[in-house]
């Protein structure tokens, strides 16, 4: 069995059996991460470049760790310290790096579609580590693994995605993945942060009432308010956002049922999520981070295996 794709550009291009294969492989890598020596030699002849055209802490570290745990050779690249600052084009940058015999590229870019562009022009396998407001496939995969661990499966589960849906590549990848795997999805948040076409285009429920979404769901995936992507304010103030759409302990207690809380990080504490919820017993935020390494190991392993 192998993946039906050569690159991981987005969840949109994956078949349900690809998702299943990645999640099952990730579970075996989780076991590897529990061993005294948390490293396997699978990719010791593979060179991977991490191209981060946009800032990132946890995704970059998580990919880097995954690569090292698989014994791959890695090169890190950030725009601020590169010739991109001198005006070099992305394709030139990548071609130069590939001339040094690189097998895979992990790429983050602020422009949606940037990894798709690269995949058309270079022979290496490409892993999208987040492109603009389009997709963040490995985040959706690690979210799915975390949901499976917390609730026992994806099929039939009710997942609410709450917050800044419009600017979130995590939301879009999650929606694709969860609907493909038979879960029900509701998005909730301020009307200004939820695209109007979402319901018709993707067949999901939309509500502007966070309490209603919480009452309905088994799992709440709470997203960060991405102020850096907002050219003009789409809500009045963070304080008002918190009052209308933030998730508090009091609100959860009044609903009175177990809701698993997720967040892709970094958290704006006191805005979308209060600290006592983020750090509470139903929160699996740190498990998500842990699962991130295993899922990325699985993706890199499965894509490297296709080379001949």
């Amino acid at each position: 069995m192998k993946l039906s794709t050569r690159h991981l550009l987005g969840i949109k291009d994956l078949q349900p059996q690809d998702i299943r294969l990645i999640l099952d492989t990730a579970k075996q890598f989780k076991e590897v991460l529990q061993r005294p020596i948390k490293k396997v030699p699978s990719l010791r002849d593979v060179t991977i470049v991490n191209l981060f055209f946009e800032n990132s802490t946890r995704t970059r570290i998580s990919f880097e760790l995954a690569e090292k745990r698989l014994s791959a050779d890695t090169i890190n690249f950030t725009t601020s310290s590169s010739s991109v600052a001198k005006g070099e084009t992305m394709l030139d940058t990548v071609n130069n790096i590939l001339s040094m015999k690189v097998d895979m590229v992990v790429m983050r870019h602020s422009a949606s579609g940037a990894p798709h562009f690269l995949a058309k022009h270079i022979p290496a396998a490409i892993v999208n580590a987040g492109d603009g407001i389009n997709e963040h496939p490995t985040q959706a995969l690690l979210d799915a693994l975390s949901i499976e661990e917390a609730t026992g499966g994806l099929e039939g589960k009710k997942i609410a995605i709450i917050g800044d849906i419009m600017h979130s590549r995590v939301a879009l990848s999650n929606i694709y993945l969860l609907t493909k795997m038979g879960a029900e999805v509701t998005v909730a948040g301020p009307p200004t942060l939820i695209p109007v076409y979402l319901k018709e285009a993707l067949g999901i429920n939309v509500t502007y009432n966070v309490r209603e979404a919480l009452q309905w769901c088994d799992v709440a995936n709470v997203l960060r308010i991405q102020l850096e992507r907002q050219n003009q304010p789409l809500f009045s103030s963070l304080r008002e956002y918190n009052q209308a759409y933030g998730i508090t302990r009091k609100m959860l207690d009044s609903i009175g049922k177990k809701i698993t809380i997720m967040h892709p990080g970094p958290i704006n504490r006191g805005v979308e999520l209060d600290s006592d919820v983020a750090d509470g017993s139903d929160s699996i935020i740190l498990q998500q981070v842990e699962n991130g390494v295993a899922v990325r190991m699985a993706v890199l392993y499965l894509l490297a295996g296709r080379e001949s």
């Binding site: 075996q28 890598f29 076991e31 590897v32 020596i37 396997v40 699978s42 490297a304 295996g305 296709r306």
Partner: protein, 174 residues
């Protein structure tokens, strides 16, 4: 297709292998058993059951090891991993690796690599149901052998188990 071992012969062979293990390890005080995924575990399950029968009241330490991530042909073809579960330390223990067929030796080479990531065993021994002794590509030899088969490279030796293949027997096919 030719049958090399029948179900009854396999049962007797497994009994013998278990006794040979006990000859060298007596009460298994400092010894652990590791079955190799995916097919070696059918033999190891049965050997462990037999050992358990011979050592009533004692818990035989038994783990499963998958070597997919240690294969040397990852770039040639993709293999889907199986479960690994070793819930005890192998540090300074005597380890008995169990597999169904010893062929090129590459699986055992990978298993030794994998094993060392769990700790530093005092000794590692190898127990196999079938040894295709003339097909080795690496210098690896078993300590306990069910049956030696001198098959041609073009022939295939398969160990079938009721649990997954309807009947239990060892066959050789062209």
């Amino acid at each position: 297709m030719k049958t090399i071992l029948s179900e009854q012969q396999i049962a007797l062979t497994i009994q013998r292998l278990a006794h040979q293990v006990l000859e060298n390890h007596l009460d298994l005080e400092n010894t652990v058993i590791i079955g190799l995924q995916p097919r070696g575990i059918y033999v190891s399950d049965k050997i462990v059951a037999q050992l358990q029968k011979n050592l009533p009241g004692k818990q035989v330490q038994y783990g499963l090891l998958d070597i997919t991530f240690y294969r040397d042909d990852v770039r040639r073809s993709l293999h889907v991993p199986n479960e690994t579960s070793i819930n005890f330390s192998i540090e300074d223990k005597k380890v008995i690796l169990i597999d169904d067929v010893l062929y090129t030796g590459r699986t055992i080479r990978a298993a030794l690599d994998a094993l060392l990531d769990f700790g530093r065993p005092a000794k590692v021994e190898l127990c196999v149901l079938i040894d295709r002794r003339f097909s080795r590509q690496l210098p690896i030899q078993p300590d306990y052998v069910g049956k030696v088969i001198d098959a041609l490279i073009t022939e295939k030796v398969k160990v079938l188990w009721k649990e997954r293949d309807e009947l239990t027997e060892v066959i050789i096919t062209k």
